[in-house]
Amino acid sequence: MRALSLLAASDLLPAREQMAFTLGFHIVLSCLGIALPAITLIANWRGIRGDDDALKLARRWSKVMAVLFAVGAVTGTVLSFELGLLWPRLMGRFGDVFGIGFAIEGLFFFTEAIFIAIYIYGWERLSPRAHFWTGVPIVIAGIGGALSVVAANSWMNQPAGFTLDRAGHVVDVRPVEVLFNGATPYEVPHMILAAYMVAGFLLASVYAVGMLRGRRDRYHRIGFVIPFTVAAIATPVQLFVGDTAARAIAEDQPAKFAAMEYVTETGANQPEYIGGFYDDGDVKAGIKIPDLDSILVGFSSGKIVTGLDQIPDDEQPPAPTLLHLSFDTMVGIGTALLLLGVWFAVVWWRRRELPRTVWFLRAAAVAGVAAIAALECGWVVTEVGRQPWIVHGYLRTEDAVTTAGGIWWTLAGTLLLYTALGVTTVVVLRGMARRWREEEIPEEDIPYGPQ
C-alpha cells in the first residue's frame, strides 16, 4: 500500500500537468467547434439572400471548420482515454455517476460529426436552402455537447445526486441531480458564452489584421463585422454570468473563493485586491479597495466572507497568487472586450461603419488572443482552485491518480506531439488563406447551385 502511494505521488504532478495541457489545448478547438458553425450560418444566410461576399466567406469558413473539427475530435478522443489512463480511480469510483454527462455528450457529438460532414461537403450538390438547414443541427449539437460535458465538470466542483455506502461505494445515482448540480447553472452558460466570444473575436481578428495590411474591401469588412458582432453581443451577458458565478462560489466553494480573492481572515468589510502577490497570509503590491469584496459578494459591506483561516491546512488550494492573477486577468480582459464592443456599437449606430481609427483595428486584432487568454485563465481558476480535490469534498486528486508510472515520459511526448499539432494547424490554415488570396479559384466565382 505504501509502495502504491509513493508511486502515485511521483505520477501526480506530471499527470496533472498533462491533463491541464491537453484540456487547455482541446478547449480552444471546442470553442471554435461550438460557435464557428453558428457564425458561418449567419454569413451563409446572408449569402442565400444575395450577398456574394458573405457566401464566399461562409464557404471558406466551412473549409476552416473541417480542419479544426478534425483536430478537435482527435484531441477530444485523447481526453476520453486520459480520464481512464491518468485517473483510473476517479473513473472506477465515480464513472457511473458523472459519466452520464459524457454519454449524452456522445449523442451530440454524433449529430455534430454527421451534419458537419454533410454541411462541409454539401455546398455543390445540395440546394442552397436544404444545405443551409443541414447546418442548423450542428449549432444545436454544439451547445448540447458543451452543456453535457461542462455539467460533468460542474459535478466535480459541486458533486450531487448520489449515495455512498459505508465503504464509500456508490450505491444509488440520481442522474437529474447529477446533471443539474449546483455549479451547472453558471458554469454551462459561462462556457457557452466564452465559446462564442473566443470564436467571434478570433475570427474577427483575422480580418482586422487583413484590414490593417490595407485589404479594406467589402469582403474583409463583412468578414470582420459578422463574427465581431456575435462576440460583442455575448460579452455583456458573459460578465453578468461570471459575476453570478463568483457569488455562487463564495457560498459553495469558499476555499476556492478565498484563495482567488485573497480573503485571508473570515469577517465583514473584506477589501477587494486588484493584482498583488500572496505571501503567507499577506498581500503584497496590489491595489486594495476597502469593503468592495464584501459588497460584490453580498451587496453590503457588512457581508461576512469566509477566509483561508477557516480552511483546514490539508484542504488549502495551492498557489493563491496564480488563482488571483488568473481571475484578475479574466475579469480584466472581459472588461476590456466589453469596452471594445461598446466602441464599435456606438460608432456603428451613429454612422453605420467601423470606427475609422487604426487603433480600433489594432485592438480588435488582439481581441481574439485575449479572449483565449481569458478562457484559459478561467479554467485555471476553476480547476486549480478545486485542488486538492478532484471531486470536491469526496475524492482527493492524489487518491485518484494512476500508479502506472512513467508519466513524465508521457507528458514529454504529449508536449511534443501537441506542439507539432498546434503549429501544423496554424501553418495549414495560413496556407489555405494565402492560397485564397493569391488565386481566386474559379469554382468560387459561381456561388451556388446544383449541377
Binding site: A66, V67, F69, A70, V71, A73, V74, T75, T77, V78, S80, F81, E82, L83, G84, L85, P88, M91, G92, G95, D96, V97, G99, I100, F102, A103, I104, G106, L107, F109, F110, T111, A113, I114, F115, A117, I118, I120, Y121, G122, W123, E124, R125, L126, P137, V170, D172, V173, R174, P175, T402, T403, A404, G405, G413, L417, T425, V428, G431, R435
Partner: protein
C-alpha cells in the same frame, strides 16, 4: 439490466469494428499503394471514400468508452490501469491519423501531402493493432479485476499479438471489399480489379490467422475458446460462411450483397466473442453483473442509447446515402 447494457456495449463495439474498421483498413491500402504516381488513383478513391464519413465512424469508439466507464466503471478502471501502454499508443495513433488525413486533404504541395499521407497511413495500421492487443489481453484473462496488472506482459502475449495482427488484416479485408464496390459504383473497372486482388489476399490472410487463432485461444484463452465452440458457435459459422461468400460474389462481379456479407463476417465474429466470454466482462476476473453501475445509471444509459437509435441512426443513414449518391462532392 446490466446484461442489456452489456449488449449495448457489444453493439457499439461491433459497429465500431465495422465502420471504424473499414476506415482503418482504407489507411492500410493507402500505405501500401506505392509511390506518389503509382498510388495516385487508388489514393484518390480512398480519399473520396472516407473524407465525409470518417469522423462519424470514429464516434463509435467514444460511444464504447463512455458506455464502459459509465456502465461498468470498475472494468474501465481495471483495463485502463493495466493496459496503459497499448491504449496510449492507440490514442497517439488516433491523433496522428485524424489530423494527418485532415491536413493532407487541404495541403497543396507534394512534399506536405506525402508527409501527412504517410502519417495517416502508418497510424491507420498502428491503431487497430494496438486495439487488438488490448482485446487480446482481455480475452486471455490478463486484466485483474482491481487493475494494475503487469504493464508489459499483460498485452505482449501470443493472443494479444495475434489478435492485433488479425485486427489489421480484417480491417484491410473489409476496406478492400468496400473499395471494390465503390470503384464499380464509379465505373472504374480497373480499380475494382486492383482492390479485388487485395480483398482476396486480405481475406485469405485473415482466414489463415483465424485458423491459427483457434490453436492460440485453445492454449491461452481457454475460457473464451470453450465459449466460442459452444454458445458462440453459430456466430463463428455465420462469420466464416459470409466471409467466404463475400469473396465469391465479389469475384463474380456482383454489385449488391458483397458489402453486406463482408460486414456480417466481421460483425458476427465480434458478437461471437462477446457471447463467448459471457458472463464475464473481463474473463475469469470480473463479471458483467459485478462490474455494473447502480440501477438508475444503467436506465439512463439505455435511454441515451434509445435516443441514439432514434436520432443518430437516421442521421447516419442520411449521411451514408448522400455519400453513396455522390451528393457530397467538393
Amino acid at each position: 439490466m446490466s446484461d442489456v447494457v452489456a449488449a449495448v456495449l457489444l453493439t457499439g463495439a461491433t459497429l465500431y469494428a465495422v465502420f471504424g474498421g473499414a476506415d482503418f483498413g482504407v489507411g492500410f491500402w493507402d500505405l501500401t499503394a506505392g509511390g506518389a504516381e503509382r498510388g495516385e488513383e487508388p489514393r484518390a478513391l480512398i480519399d473520396h471514400a472516407i473524407a465525409p464519413v470518417w469522423e462519424a465512424n470514429h464516434v463509435w469508439l467514444i460511444f464504447c468508452l463512455v458506455v464502459l466507464w459509465t456502465g461498468f466503471p470498475d472494468a474501465f478502471a481495471a483495463v485502463m490501469s493495466t493496459l496503459y501502454v497499448p491504449l496510449l499508443a492507440a490514442a497517439v495513433g488516433i491523433v496522428l491519423r485524424g489530423s494527418g488525413f485532415a491536413f493532407r486533404k487541404v495541403i497543396e504541395h507534394l512534399a506536405g501531402r506525402r508527409l501527412f499521407g504517410a502519417i495517416f497511413a502508418v497510424a491507420s495500421v498502428m491503431t487497430p493493432f494496438f486495439m487488438g492487443t488490448v482485446v487480446g489481453a482481455i480475452v486471455s484473462g490478463r486484466v485483474p479485476a482491481d487493475g494494475n496488472g503487469d504493464r508489459w506482459s499483460s498485452w505482449t502475449g501470443l493472443t494479444s499479438i495475434l489478435v492485433g495482427v488479425m485486427f489489421v488484416a480484417s480491417c484491410a479485408y473489409l476496406a478492400a471489399v468496400f473499395l471494390v464496390v465503390d470503384a464499380r459504383h464509379n465505373d472504374r473497372e480497373h480499380l475494382a480489379l486492383y482492390f479485388e486482388r487485395r480483398a482476396l489476399g486480405a481475406g485469405v490472410v485473415t482466414g489463415a490467422l483465424a485458423v491459427a487463432g483457434v490453436f492460440v485461444l485453445h492454449a491461452h484463452a481457454r475460457y473464451v475458446f470453450d465459449g466460442l465452440v459452444d454458445e458462440g458457435l453459430p456466430f463463428v459459422i455465420v462469420s466464416v460462411l459470409s466471409g467466404a461468400a463475400a469473396v465469391v460474389l465479389m469475384l463474380r462481379g456482383a454489385r449488391r450483397g458483397v458489402r453486406l456479407l463482408a460486414v456480417l463476417a466481421v460483425a458476427a465474429v465480434v458478437c461471437g466473442g462477446g457471447v463467448a466470454q459471457y458472463p464475464y466482462l473481463l474473463p475469469k476476473s470480473l463479471t458483467v453483473a459485478d462490474a455494473a453501475a447502480p440501477h438508475d445509471t444503467l436506465v439512463w444509459l439505455l435511454v441515451v442509447f434509445g435516443l441514439a437509435a432514434a436520432i443518430v441512426a437516421p442521421a447516419l443513414a442520411l449521411l451514408y446515402s448522400l455519400h453513396q449518391r455522390s451528393l457530397l462532392d467538393e
